[in-house]
């Protein structure tokens, strides 16, 4: 079962001005980070249970905490996966999803099964690829998009495909 109390307590401890403004000794700052990280785990279980109940299927939900540095083992290895996007705002938002992926081409479908435009770009200062697609998410709600690797198509083939020589 999930539990948000550890994260609540960590956030309560971090109301201290040392945590808010970074005026603690290094080992204390490290401990603040440790408490937060320890609180995330049980909270993610809580979120997974809620998502399972609302989406109607029990999934092994994965939270990639390092998307800001293009790290996510699941999206970088799986041939197909689901992306659930939760919108905490009280209004619908369109949001560009960026996920690190392997060197392949992907097909992205929206909740109604319609293929949506997607792109694969090289992440800055690295040779990692990122899959981009625009997701539309309802107010205080979530949308589930499915991503599937297009078999046989690799990114290299697409990029370095020899252009048909123009007839002279």
């Amino acid at each position: 079962s999930g539990d948000s109390v550890p994260l609540n307590e960590a956030m309560a401890v971090l109301q201290h001005h040392d945590a808010v403004s970074g005026t603690s000794k290094q080992h204390v700052a490290n401990d603040y980070a440790r408490q937060l990280a320890a609180g995330w785990g049980p909270c993610e279980i809580l979120l997974s249970n809620a998502l399972a109940r609302f989406s109607g299927s029990k999934e092994e939900f994965v939270f990639c905490r390092s998307l800001n540095i293009s790290l996510c083992p699941l999206s970088q290895t799986a041939k197909s996966f689901q992306v659930t996007i939760y919108n905490p705002l009280g209004r619908k938002v369109d949001w560009m999803v960026r996920l690190p992926v392997s060197k392949h081409i992907f097909l992205v479908k929206d909740p109604s099964g319609t293929v949506v435009p997607s792109d694969v770009v090289v992440a800055p200062s690295s040779d990692r690829q990122e899959l981009l697609f625009s997701a539309s998410v309802p107010a205080l709600g979530f949308s589930v998009y499915s991503v599937t690797q297009v078999p046989g198509q690799s990114l290299q083939a697409l990029i370095y495909q020899p252009r048909a020589q123009k007839s002279s």
Binding site: V83, D119, P124
Partner: protein
């Protein structure tokens, strides 16, 4: 593309490279980069036909270790540069341009410890600057306090605006306090204020707003200029109680964050930055799964 350092180009003006324009744009925004230096130099709001020269670059203040005026060093509690002028991280950036149907971005590499991606998605009404700074080198025994600074020709008459927890906007006036007669002894730090979500400058007609994805220190130290502190690494304790310098162990931390830049008419700017700041603060959360799970409800 590898761009020659400015110094070499200046020394032989005749061989200036062809001034191919480096730009990115979507339906609402157009941004231009100097083709010699790779730095952002202009932003245009296409909807309102507003063009503003905006030069953005990274600088660093040399942290004070105390001087003849005061023994106060820069530290965890105290920001105190040892001189008023910050130093440029780099006069130029190595750039790479990415343009696809879903994104246009310029990757700028200023140094081994400072880079940025300037990005535009379709439909976006702000310019996204994803900065990556660190580990800050301190091998020269100088503590460094790194800022991102935007310089424009806006005549802002010493005024700028910062928010308080994303709600109230406070007017700030350089070298001035509304509640007492200020004897300004710190021309830089004495004009720094907390920025929780946004800082902006305006000449009454045009407004330049920078949204932050976390609290930072910020200021406007000359008319038309806005700066935000993104990272610090110091070598002295400031004698205010921590008992150690703001100095991560080992190599030091590198930090990545985003600044969202909005250019608007002053009278319509609020709706733009307020709605965008809400989207930034309450950003969607992404959760992944392999799919094919068993039904939650047996039937």
């Amino acid at each position: 593309s590898r761009i020659k350092p400015l110094s070499r180009i200046k020394s032989s003006p005749r061989i200036r490279p062809p001034s191919h324009i480096l730009t990115i744009q979507n339906e609402h925004i157009w941004a231009r980069f100097d083709s010699d230096t790779g730095l952002l130099v202009e932003i245009k709001n296409l909807d309102q036909d507003l063009l503003l020269p905006v030069r953005q670059a990274f600088y660093w203040y040399n942290a004070s270790i105390g001087n003849s005026l005061s023994t106060q060093a820069s530290g965890a509690y105290i920001f105190r540069p040892n001189q008023q002028e910050p130093l440029l991280v780099s006069h130029w950036a190595q750039t790479r341009l990415v343009k696809t149907a879903l994104v246009q971005e310029v990757h700028q590499n200023f140094s081994a410890w400072c880079s940025q991606v300037v990005r535009l998605y379709p439909g976006q009404r702000h310019l996204e600057l994803e900065w990556t700074v660190g580990p800050i080198p301190v091998g020269d025994n100088w503590g460094k306090e790194v800022i991102s600074r935007f310089d424009t020709p806006l005549e802002t008459k010493g005024l700028f605006f910062t928010d308080s927890n994303g709600r109230e906007i406070l007017e700030r006036r350089r070298n001035y306090r509304p509640t007492w007669e200020l004897n300004q002894t710190e021309p830089v730090a004495g004009n720094y204020y907390p920025v929780n979500s946004r800082i902006y400058i305006t000449d009454g007609n045009v407004q330049l707003t920078v949204l932050t994805d976390r609290s930072q220190g910020g200021s406007s130290l000359r008319d038309g200029s806005v700066e935000l502190m993104v990272h610090r690494r110091l070598l002295r304790d400031d004698e205010r109680g921590v008992g150690e310098p703001l100095l991560e162990e080992g190599l030091g931390l590198w930090v990545r964050g985003r600044h969202l830049v909005l250019l608007d008419k002053a009278r319509t700017a609020a709706v733009g930055h307020r709605l965008q700041a809400e989207k930034e603060l309450l950003a969607p959360q992404v959760v992944l799964a392999l799919g094919g799970g068993i039904p939650y409800h047996p039937k």
